[in-house]
């Protein structure tokens, strides 16, 4: 069964964007040509819808395939040209949520399989019940984990799923949600292309107008800043424990030390102070400690400033000392700190 015109309009990401533009005989450097105006307008619409809805979502216009389908690759080019991470992320998410909604409404499970195969999933429809339940799909666990690993609810954890012979059993809703992740990532990847030089001036002006219109929102979306001074009382239980151990020179595992250091760097403790914190440990080596702290801070090596591990990771390695009430509402030590500092201020 080939993809119908309706399918292509519903799931435009299944077609390679460059191919689509070529197929429609659209010359990007000529996008300001009035004959493309309806498509370009709809492309801008797609992005604005994404920026104006919450959760972000792009609408579906049935039976307008001639505009809907080609407007998607154009919207990709426009979002990529915005050079704004906020717009790109928001747009990719909105298109993915749109697809999720449409996939969920598909009566025919084969349609979902067809979309999944675009992403090379190994997926099938099981015919007999497993573990006393009927499931819509069985898919290869690697395909499952690639997408489910970002979900934090218990019901997505592999340990709580039926897993047999390499396959995870899921229902239609779950399959659609997993595909949403796959779609979001694919679109985000496409948005990294450098396209500005290819676009005509008139279109570029429109793109920049869009970026400007949402500039204040982009600013707000940046991570809320932590206080300038470190607030020890706002440490979560795990950090409190590691911090105390470091001060008294008690042994901390490698991951524990990394968690503590990256946490302290992120909450604005000076590298010098962090180095001093480890001074009590009997095998303290100033040069090594300084190197490691600066590495984690992104002043050396790969130049990436490391984020602190999440609660999930600490649990896997048995480093979570047990949650307090606030812990149950957050997913990482840094989020805990950010919430706690805010309540302490009040």
């Amino acid at each position: 069964m080939a993809l119908t015109i309706t399918d292509q309009a519903k799931y435009p990401f299944v077609i390679d964007a460059a191919d689509e533009v070529k197929r429609q005989d659209i010359d990007i450097s000529n996008l300001d040509n009035p004959s493309f105006k309806p498509i370009v307008d709809r492309a801008f619409d797609r992005i604005e819808e994404a920026l104006n809805s919450n959760p972000p979502q792009v609408s579906y216009h049935p039976q307008e395939e001639a505009i809907e389908t080609p407007s998607f690759p154009i919207a990709i080019i426009i979002a990529a040209a915005s050079n704004s991470d906020y717009i790109k992320r928001r747009y990719a998410l909105a298109e993915a949520i749109r697809a999720f909604g449409l996939l969920q409404q598909e009566e025919d499970r084969e349609k979902i399989i067809k979309v999944a195969k675009i992403f090379n999933w190994k997926i099938r429809t099981p015919t007999i019940p497993v573990g006393h339940r009927r499931f819509d799909f069985a898919l290869f666990f690697v395909d499952y984990l690639r997408n489910a690993e970002v979900f934090h609810e218990d019901e997505w954890k592999l340990v709580n799923k039926i897993l047999a012979k390499g396959e995870v059993y899921v229902n239609k809703h779950e399959a659609a949600r997993l595909l949403q992740e796959e779609i979001r990532r694919r679109i985000e990847k496409r948005l990294t292309a450098n396209v500005r030089s290819m676009l005509p001036e008139a279109i570029l002006q429109r793109v920049d107008g869009l970026s400007q219109k949402y500039a204040s929102r982009i600013e707000r979306a940046r991570l809320s800043m932590f206080p300038k001074e470190v607030v020890n009382e706002a440490f979560p239980p795990c950090i409190h424990l590691f911090y105390g151990s470091a001060k008294t020179g008690t042994h901390i595992s490698h991951l524990g030390r990394f968690t503590l250091t990256s946490f302290l760097i992120n909450v604005n403790m000076k590298p010098e102070e962090i180095v001093n914190l480890f001074r009590a440990s009997a095998d303290f080596n100033e040069r090594m400690t300084r190197y490691q702290v600066e590495h984690i801070a992104g002043d050396r090596g790969s130049r990436t400033k490391y984020r602190s591990p999440t609660c999930d990771t600490l649990k896997t390695h048995a480093l979570c000392p047990g949650p307090d009430e606030l812990c149950k509402k957050i997913r990482s030590p840094l989020r805990y700190y950010s919430q706690k500092t805010r309540t302490l201020k009040k």
């Binding site: 006393h132 954890k157 340990v159 709580n160 039926i162 390499g166 991951l255 048995a318």
Partner: protein, 402 residues
């Protein structure tokens, strides 16, 4: 000759004769290699080899104390970490007696507190003398510890084949050459998994994050046909209650009266569990905390105690197959997963099969190599077969007599 130089000489002789048995990992060109060399006691990293022959030549020349390769595949394995270009990594599991509580450790593992110098046997959390937490550990591989590690390995292999669907050919089991087992899954389909996906896989193997309320209420202990934790927990809880004693329950923290009371209704509960679900809820007879206690027992028994850091680290270095372990002089050897029950590491991993060596032993535990038992020597000279002698020297438990 000092002991270190002697061990190195023995390792060099071994590799001179047996380097051709060293198996290169698949896609050798894309692997990073690392070696711990004798004397300097430093790690040489970021090396790579074009083929197995080049690796074998290096092993003959360097005769390292430890040889490792990356589980990962890189575009440029000799570059610095951030420039290597990660392409994928094999799935790898490490099961080490260090992570399993065995009673025998009380008799053969020794520790010395790094802070106050106090020492003793076993594996303490804190030093009873000064409260310090940093120790010099002297560990000892014994049959009981290796048996415990083997049981965990069997559980892991079962999950990897039945649940994760890897074929027996894809799951390579090996003895690490010291205190445990390695399980290597070289399946191409698993290579692309990132650290986050591997973390979820680890949580599955260790039963972390399990929530029984999400399981099918119809899955009763006896009708639960499929694999997965759902059936494992249902069957396990049933088996646990069927076989447990008042003493066991008290050991788990239950009051004696309550334990006796619960066991008196055992048949009633078991019958009800067989009939209908959700099996974990029986109003009035068994408390939620008690069911949770059962569940935690099942998780403890049926999860596999793997080293969680090894599997989630996608840049890890792991020991090269058929190379010598510098802490024992034993080989890392692979064997088919189906033969694990009969596998005897202390026979299969013996590298040195000729000659005898004179040693002075202050004191040592008993140990076995092949079918022979050694040990029980105190402050005297002994002449031992090379394998036993190299083992004691590697463990720093004896001195060479010229």
């Amino acid at each position: 000759m000092d002991s270190q130089a002697f061990i190195r000489q023995k390792f060099a002789e071994f590799y001179e004769e047996n380097a051709d048995k060293i198996e290169a990992p698949p896609l050798i060109k894309q692997r990073e290699f690392g070696f711990m060399v004798f004397q300097e006691n430093i790690m040489v990293r970021h090396k790579s080899f074009l083929n197995a022959e080049a690796l074998r030549t290096y092993m003959k020349e360097a005769a390292p104390a430890h040889a490792y390769h990356s589980t990962a595949y890189y575009e440029l394995p000799e570059e610095r970490m951030e420039n290597k270009g990660w392409l994928g990594a094999d799935l790898y599991f490490d099961i080490d007696a260090d992570h399993i509580a065995t009673k025998c450790k009380e008799t053969h593992d020794q520790w010395t507190c790094k802070d106050c110098g106090f020492g003793g046997k076993g594996q303490p959390d804190v030093c009873p003398a000064c409260g310090g937490r940093r120790f010099d550990q002297k560990t000892w591989p014994c049959d009981e510890c290796l048996g415990a590690a083997k049981r965990e390995t069997i559980k892991l292999v079962e999950m990897l084949t039945a649940e994760f669907g890897f074929t027996e050919n894809e799951v390579e089991v090996s003895f690490s050459g010291h205190r445990g087992y390695h399980v290597h899954v070289a399946a191409e389909t698993a290579r692309e998994m990132d650290a986050g996906a591997r973390k979820e896989l680890v949580d599955y193997i260790t039963g972390t994050g399990l929530n029984v309320a999400l399981f099918s209420p119809e899955a009763t202990p006896l009708t639960s046909d499929s694999v997965s934790w759902q059936s494992r927990i249902a069957k396990g809880a049933y088996e646990f209650l069927r076989t447990t004693t008042t003493k066991d329950l008290i050991g788990l923290g239950m009051k004696e009266k309550r334990a006796t009371n619960l066991l008196s209704k055992k048949q009633l509960i078991l019958e009800s569990w067989k009939k209908r679900g959700p099996w974990w809820q029986i109003e009035g007879i068994i408390k939620k905390e008690e069911v949770n206690m059962f569940i935690n027992q099942v998780i403890e028994q049926q999860s596999a105690k793997i080293d969680t850091m090894v599997t989630t680290d996608i840049h890890r270095l792991i020991r090269l197959l058929n190379s010598l372990h510098g802490k024992t002089g034993w080989l890392k050897v692979a064997f088919p997963a189906s033969t694990i029950d009969a596998f005897d590491p202390l026979k299969s991993a013996v590298a040195f099969k000729r000659g005898e060596v004179k040693l002075y032993v202050e004191k040592t535990h008993r140990f076995r190599i092949g079918d022979e038992w050694y040990g029980g020597y105190e402050n005297r000279e002994v002449e031992l077969p090379t394998a036993a002698a190299v083992f004691l020297l590697c463990k720093d438990a004896a001195k060479l007599v010229d």
